[in-house]
Symmetry: C2
Subunit: 497 residues, 2 copies
């Protein structure tokens, strides 16, 4: 049986309840975003008095929409008390899928409203996400030609940003994690495939999302924001299966007493024990994130970088402090920064030729800007050496720095265009190294995307983080995925024996 | 006896060794920055063959500088083997202070070079920072009128950015932490007062820096980046004294085996045990940071926010997820999110009037944009209630959001100018609340400074972080400072008894 989410996330037509002419209301903003993101289907605004909404012909009721025009999805942003009536009307019109944005149900202990919602949707066999959710985002509408997906997304949230397309899909018990994150992802140009805000999960829950995303051909990594695991056994069974083929990253905030109590007020969720969740993650092969940034960073890295073959890390830097700092953190997260063999140290020395450079465990070029060394010779030598499984890099400095220097003194002339041309060529090769060699390279650049070289790398799908600890934790997440796959494979082979 | 750092960081004249016409060399870049940041003293470039460097008259030797012109500081960026000779010449010219940028001493086990350096500086009584350092940054030159300090800083590093002026001074065994951080601080408009890169600490070390910054009238918070604590007993004694009047934040990366090994290659440092350092921090009243971001965030918050009177946190949000998420994290860091009294809950309900709002422990306004409530009524009610000691806020959204909406659809008209005017007025009052009420408010806005309201708040010295966990950890740092002050005061009174 196909997932109801297939229709909900890829509707060819939407009946929209709750938009009018006031842009500061939630419904109007959401309809605005649906139009602005380039939704290619038909939209039928339903409004008791207006003839048109945001330039679209409006109808008094779905019953007024000509019978020949099929409606895939009802999108509802009206006060809770009107929701059951509207869903009844939709059911009579043959609509089998809905998104209920409206709040005021279980999360405020309004049992009557909740019962009425359940009753009417059961009666008509309507599957829905929500209530008390923000809807969804889908950058890869299944019936749109892949070549056109850049301009034809569906964004039902109220954040007016289309993130870059990518392999990461997020299912969340918080609407914020399904849309406010679009304010953050552009900083690393992280790609997003879909987000689903499940709200109170009165009908469709996170387990349904996992099953849907498991089969979604464009989703490569699944992120979860969890306040409460509702169908514990099912969750564990499905997550264990999905993790065989797609990495799952989970942020669970219901493990502490304060988190659980707060969750109950938010979506009516009852949190469980933190250690139980930790053990479940390990069993299912889920990588656990401890905050919003980690959830995004871990999903991002698992989408763009190869899983390392082991836990030995080498560090290439042109500044001592960040190298030492990352080395310390690598050991803190349980990975290793082994001392190189004498033979490798000698080969590094032969290439580097800088008396103050370090080659023992961290390769520190000190103040050197030999780009050929930094982007080609050393990464290849180190990653092909069989002495490390992944690499952390500090010291991506593009031509932006030289542009700044030029502005400072009339006598300063830097061949910026030449530098840029050299970097662009080298960076193109550099960005391909991780997948070519089967080992991750994760870079750190404090300047972020303001630096031209950083922007180029990120746009090529090469991970560059703004802070050293984020790169270390991202590498840890890749290593956790390697360990999870190891456990899965051992279970698989023992099961077959 | 005045600290030698007083002259080194506030020189009226500098003899500069190692700049020429090639901008990509370290020395030239550094001289360029000294000029660009607006150094108001005299500069004497010393060069064996050039008549002028970057437009400044150059001298073959300091001996050629007219005898009547005093030179406060020698700044040296030349190969290690020439450094002792140059310092001998400087000593003969009566120069008593130096900055030695040159590398190639203890960190590469070049004992002979190190001995020669020590010998010549002892002979002339020269005090210096380095070798193997990046110099310093001083936004508050003591002999410059405070009104002119905005345009008259001294930046000897190679990062072409002048951060905002502030109370935070950083002393660091890594040059990166003394200058690359300028690439990061503009994101929160964090203020920097001074940074000192101590390099190998052959003469002046972190303890000297602590003593100097203790007496520096414009420094309010001291940040330390440590690979090795060299004079352990002195460090503990001085830090304990300084922490009585100024908060100290330390990032120590020599505690793990990998970190210690890497540090040895970097500055020749030998790291010690992590737990020993942890205990020392507690004893001295130092707040410990675990990564670069925490070092900066903790210094920033201790500079701009009041220390909370206790560890009870309230959370005000207009989005459920971040509220629950922060609540969970507050408990994880050992602080509390107590349930409000029935009386306070009722008072909150009376004001909020949104049926779906939560007031039990997190105040969740859901999708509400009543700015008066968010910025004035509720913060005052909560912080004056005697039921919480500090506040975390999610949901700073300025007019930038509405500007984005306007661009999306020709029919959308938002009174952006009116909204902006209202916010600017309210934010001005809001930013004063923490110090007026003696309780910190720390906000989170995923959009960062791209949002107009965030930029205004940050420019008023009100802390807004880009991620929820950073706000929680910043509040934790303030609470650690409270606890440290409590221990200091108890010791003080028992000592007096």
């Amino acid at each position: 049986m196909p997932s109801p989410l297939e229709t909900i996330l890829n509707p060819r037509s939407i009946a929209f309840y709750g938009a009018n002419a006031a842009v500061t209301t939630m419904g109007t903003t959401q309809l605005l975003e649906i139009i602005a993101a380039g939704y290619p289907g038909r939209i039928y605004p339903i409004h008791p008095s207006l003839d048109s909404v945001l330039g679209l012909k409006a109808y008094k009721s779905v019953k007024d929409v000509p019978a020949g025009e099929s409606i895939d999805l009802a999108f509802i942003v009206i006060p809770a008390k009107y929701v059951p009536g509207v869903l009844d009307e939709c059911g009579q019109r043959g609509i089998k899928h809905a998104v209920v944005i409206s709040a005021g149900f279980r999360e405020i202990e309004n049992q009557a409203a909740n019962d009425a919602l359940i009753e009417v949707t059961r009666k008509h066999g309507i599957r829905f996400i929500g209530p008390n959710c923000i809807g969804f985002y889908n950058r890869n509408i299944s019936w749109v030609d892949p070549a056109e997906r850049a301009s034809k997304a569906i964004n039902t949230t109220w954040i007016p940003i289309n993130p870059r397309n990518g392999g990461v899909s997020i299912a969340s018990q918080s609407g914020t994690f399904a849309c406010h994150i679009f304010l953050v992802t552009p900083r690393s140009n992280m790609g997003i495939n879909k987000t689903i805000s499940v709200g109170n999960e009165a009908n469709i829950d996170l387990v349904d999302c996992l099953e849907y995303l498991e089969g979604d051909p464009t989703t490569r990594v699944i992120g979860l924001y969890i306040e409460e695991v509702k169908r514990g056994r099912e969750f564990l069974r499905v997550a264990s299966r999905v993790a065989r083929t797609k990495p799952i990253v989970a942020l669970y905030v219901g493990g502490t007493e304060a988190g659980a109590r707060a969750g109950k007020s938010h979506t009516g969720a009852l949190g469980g024990n933190d250690k139980v969740f930790d053990a479940a993650c390990k069993q299912a092969g889920i990588v656990r994130a401890m905050n919003m940034e980690e959830l995004l960073d871990f999903c991002y890295i698992l989408d763009v970088a190869p899983v390392p073959p082991g836990d030995r890390v080498c560090i290439l830097t042109n500044a001592g402090g960040p190298g030492v700092n990352m080395s310390d953190m690598v050991e803190r997260v349980g990975m290793a920064v082994p001392v190189f063999s004498a033979e490798l140290q000698q080969r590094l020395r032969d290439k580097i030729k800088i008396p103050t450079a370090q080659v023992r465990n961290i390769v520190d070029l000190t103040f050197d800007i030999d780009l050929e060394l930094m982007y080609r010779t050393l990464p290849r030598m180190l990653l092909k050496s069989d002495e490390c499984d992944g690499m952390l890099v500090y010291g991506i400095f593009g031509w932006t720095f030289f542009t700044m220097l030029e502005k400072q003194h009339p006598l300063v002339k830097v061949p910026v265009d030449d530098l840029k041309a050299i970097q662009v060529e080298l960076l193109g090769h550099y960005a391909k190294l991780p997948h070519a060699l089967g080992k991750p390279i994760i870079a750190v650049a404090l300047a972020g995307r303001e630096d031209g070289a950083v922007a180029i790398l990120q746009d090529l799908g090469f991970p560059v983080f703004e802070m050293p600890h984020r790169a270390v934790k991202a590498l840890w997440a890749l290593n956790e995925r390697r360990r999870a796959l190891g456990r899965i494979n051992r279970r698989g082979s023992s099961g077959a024996a």
